[in-house]
Amino acid sequence: MSPRRASAAGAAAALLSLAACSNNPYPPADDTLKVRYSALPGPPKTLDPAVSYSALEHKITANVYETLLEYDYLKRPYTLMPGLARSLPEPRSLGGGRVAYRFELREGLLFQDDEAFALGGAGRTTREVEAADVAFELMRIADPQVTSPVGSTFAKIEGFRDFSARLEELRRQEEGFADLRIDRQYERAGGIAGLRVRGPHQLELVLSEPYPQLLYWFAMPFTAPVPWEAVAYYDGQEGRDFFKDHPVGVGPFKITEYEKHFRIVLERNDNWYGIQHPEWRAPGAIYPSEGTPEDAAAGLLDPSYRGRPLPFLDRIEYRIEKETIPYFNKFLQGYYDASGIIRESFDVVIHEGDLSPEMAALGMRLEKAVDPDVHYLGFNMNDPVVGTPAGEKGRKLRQAMSLAVDVQEYKRIFTNGRGVPAQSPIPPGIFGYDPDYVNPFSQLDLERGRELLSEAGYEGGIDPTTGKPLHLTFDLGDPSTRARLTYAFFVNAWRQLGLDVVLAATTYNQFRDKVNRGAYQIFSWGWIADYPDPENFLFLLWGPMAESESGGPNTANFNDPRYNELFLAMKDRENDARRLEIIRELLGILEQERPWIELLHRESYSLIQPWLRNVKPAGLSLPASKYQDVDAGRRAALRARWNDPVVWPAYALGVAAVALVVPGILTFLRERQ
């Protein structure tokens, strides 16, 4: 080998050994920066705020698309506060059930810098946010081509559906219409009648019926202001991105790198009003000063943060981690700032409901939060055996089956003890939740269950028409072994009553097909709140939402006239005593009728690294990153301590290989001689 080659090989080996020296997945130069490292379980499908409807995507869009209203970061129950709007709008009755809301936007708000703004004038990189940008986004939700999943929610705005129809008609009938710039198409279609831009910063919405929950939707990215320039410019043509991959918003962060299959980088947006105008002391731009005693105990009301302008981070980095084990191991090495707890490591991390001594010694914290959701088993109320057609007999059967389910045991076995046993559809933290309420049919009582079964005409679980145990089917949309094992728990519980329940595990598509055809008896489902209002849970059992008839989310097809009537009386009321009274009556109906066997409100456990500050777990998608902070120095020191490479096994392996092979070669050659 020539000296030149040898030196090249040496350099290559040195480079390789350098590369081999570290398990740090980030460039060393980033160690001292205030970067928040997070993982996503998969790439976002879309970051178009009109379309994106998953918690994964909202983690990003909530930071990029600031909304007119926001939730207070610390207060619970969740409380709305102004964001880009100056104040929370009050409903104004227009008579005939019509209601108007007027939003007033702050003046001087700027979009993030982006080349798309050159469409509005050469050299422009940003512009002021106007009420028309919110109206534009609402028109996008109405646009059939956008396929927004929340169109029906906003259909209460007068003229919303008409606008959709006109737009579709014009695109079909008029040649060249579909090629017009998007804002011109909307203009030609006449806009939405109930959406009135009253000035550069005033937007009025007229609803055809009262809908107080509307305000919650203005705290979600669906309704964030979007510049028409971005939608028009990012069309996927001539090397430009698609708008769904190139968000342009008013939030505290902007996307600077979008390699959605492995890395997404957000950096501080210097145009954000909190940075441009700290003197406004806007509630969404300063760290809160009020919270609960628990918040104070958790260090969330640290005087060094209270009232300070946001954000604290320079950058947020998301890495895609599809597999949970590598993700969790990287968290343990200090390369992610927070993590859930994977099933495989639960016993190592948690001891008797608290952090294990090993984890606590690393300085980690455990945050627990009950999610605003409900998981349940449901009966198809159209079924002749378990549903309404069976009358009293069916009701007693459902009651008996409910009494056979031991939710505490289910929780112990399948959720590592996490979760709050659900007594009704309404989870903690939502108006109408009563911590003292005990649903008599949500308690294990096999004796009473057998009595009820006997009263229903199924003595010992025997169907008198066949002389055999009553045969029922539990339809699953997941054929995995794990799902079968989980749901076998309920089958075994009902077997104690003498019932013969069979698991019909199919693919998700086949299951959905059964639901559409109404060909199912028992199923398992869950619901996560869109917004913190009991209406968002109780509508899941409202008759007109029945899935088999209308395709709505009432998969149980529950249709009780009294419930339907009470629901209508409850849904638009303020959170007053009368509303609480109605909710109690609604829950009383569900208690007796048992269209659902409520199981759990899930409880999330999060592990937080010692250098991450101001983390308050939230079940709703909130723009939390602007409140969080990292101590980069402490992180770098701990990472270095936790990740010192162990190199001796490499040498040992090399020596062992030589020791194994060399004597053999020598013997062979000697024998050959």
Binding site: L15, L16, A19, A20, C21, S22, N23, P25, P27, G42, P43, K45, T46, V51, Y53, S54, P144, Q145, T147, S148, P149, G151, S152, G236, F242, D245, E259, H261, F262, R319, I320, E321, K322, E323, I325, P326, N329, K330, L332, Q333, Y335, Y508, N509, R512, D513, N516, D530, S550, G551, G552, N643, P645, V646, V647, P649, V661, G664, I665, T667, F668
Partner: protein, 321 residues
């Protein structure tokens, strides 16, 4: 040979048509478009939004026959798109599938090409080595290790390798990807090592058998009698004469380098075509799956033809007629 290649291509075309028909049956008759829409738009989407998605993606056409316009059917559209390589858009995220292929073939090749080249080099060298020392304890240990290696699931290699090398020894990142020149070697080291080790047992055992068969032939004894050195015999004579079985394995594998590695890419977070296929399976992205199966079939047919042609290059006695 040209006539042979043209004939094989014609057979291949017929096979591709069969694959396309099978794909249509599997993907269009198995899942309803509404369910695909539900996966794409979200579980909470109301029925009218699902219908709109179906219409926007052209899945509302008649499946097999349209009396008014015979070409306006899903079947015709499926064949037309695939045969003209107009793959359309992903069902999951609406991105043109060609863009997906373009973006994700690079990360796949970053993994598969070194894995293929190094793997081939190491396994042939190791096989020549154990074949040379046949019936010594080196050979027997090699065979035992090879059988042991090929008996272990690649999943165990991956999880064990990540745990041992990434977590306990902390030599390389456990997973991840960064195309920056300063970072790429760091991320690729562990998947390459694991990919190499997991495939080594099976390859060494196969090549060893081939080489041992060759080393017992007369020409080897003759070469040795003429004073030819052992290294020269193994490298120049045995290896060259063993090329036909080697080519049978190797050439057909080359096109599949572009498709990537399903498991390695998924577990190591490498955003290649393999992990794209796994994502498409999990996410019911049938548009992407159809394309990947179609490309897989095409590559297989092309690989077979290339293998036949390569025989003539390796062995002048082979004639393709």
């Amino acid at each position: 040979m040209l006539a042979y290649v043209i004939r094989r291509l014609a057979y291949g075309f017929v096979t591709v048509l069969g694959v396309l028909l099978l794909l249509f049956v599997l993907f269009f008759l198995y899942a309803t478009p509404v369910e695909m829409a539900r996966r794409a738009v979200g579980e909470k989407a109301p029925p009218e939004v699902l219908q709109q998605w179906v219409a926007n993606h052209g899945y509302d056409k008649p499946r097999l026959w349209n009396a008014e316009s015979p070409s306006d059917t899903l079947l015709f559209e499926h064949f037309r798109r695939m045969l003209t390589f107009d793959f359309g858009r992903s069902d999951a995220d609406d991105t043109p599938i060609v863009d997906h292929l373009r973006q994700r073939v690079g990360p796949s090749l970053v993994l598969t090409i070194p894995l293929f080249v190094i793997g081939l080099g190491v396994s042939i060298s190791a096989s020549l080595f154990v074949a040379y020392f046949r019936e010594t304890y080196i050979d027997r240990t090699g065979v035992v290790l090879a059988v042991l290696g090929m008996s272990i699931s690649i999943l165990l290699y991956i999880i064990g390798g990540q745990y041992l090398i990434g977590k306990l020894l902390r030599w390389f990142p456990i997973s991840g990807f960064d195309p920056a020149p300063a970072m790429i070697a760091r991320f690729m080291a562990l998947p390459l090592l694991i990919g190499l080790f997991s495939g080594l047992g099976e390859s060494v055992r196969f090549y060893r058998t081939v080489f041992i068969e060759e080393t017992s032939r007369d020409y080897v004894r003759t070469a040795r009698a003429k004073g030819c050195g052992d290294g020269r015999i193994m490298a120049r004579h045995v290896l060259r004469n063993a090329m036909i079985p080697i080519l049978t394995r190797v050439v057909v594998a080359i096109p599949f380098l572009f498709i990537g590695s399903l498991l390695l890419e998924s577990f190591f977070g490498i955003p290649g075509l393999g992990s794209m296929t796994v994502d498409a399976i999990h996410g019911n992205d049938f548009a992407v799956l159809r394309v990947m199966v179609f490309i897989g079939a095409l590559f297989f047919i092309l690989g077979q033809i290339a293998t036949d042609v390569s025989y003539t290059l390796a062995d002048p006695r082979v004639r393709l007629e």
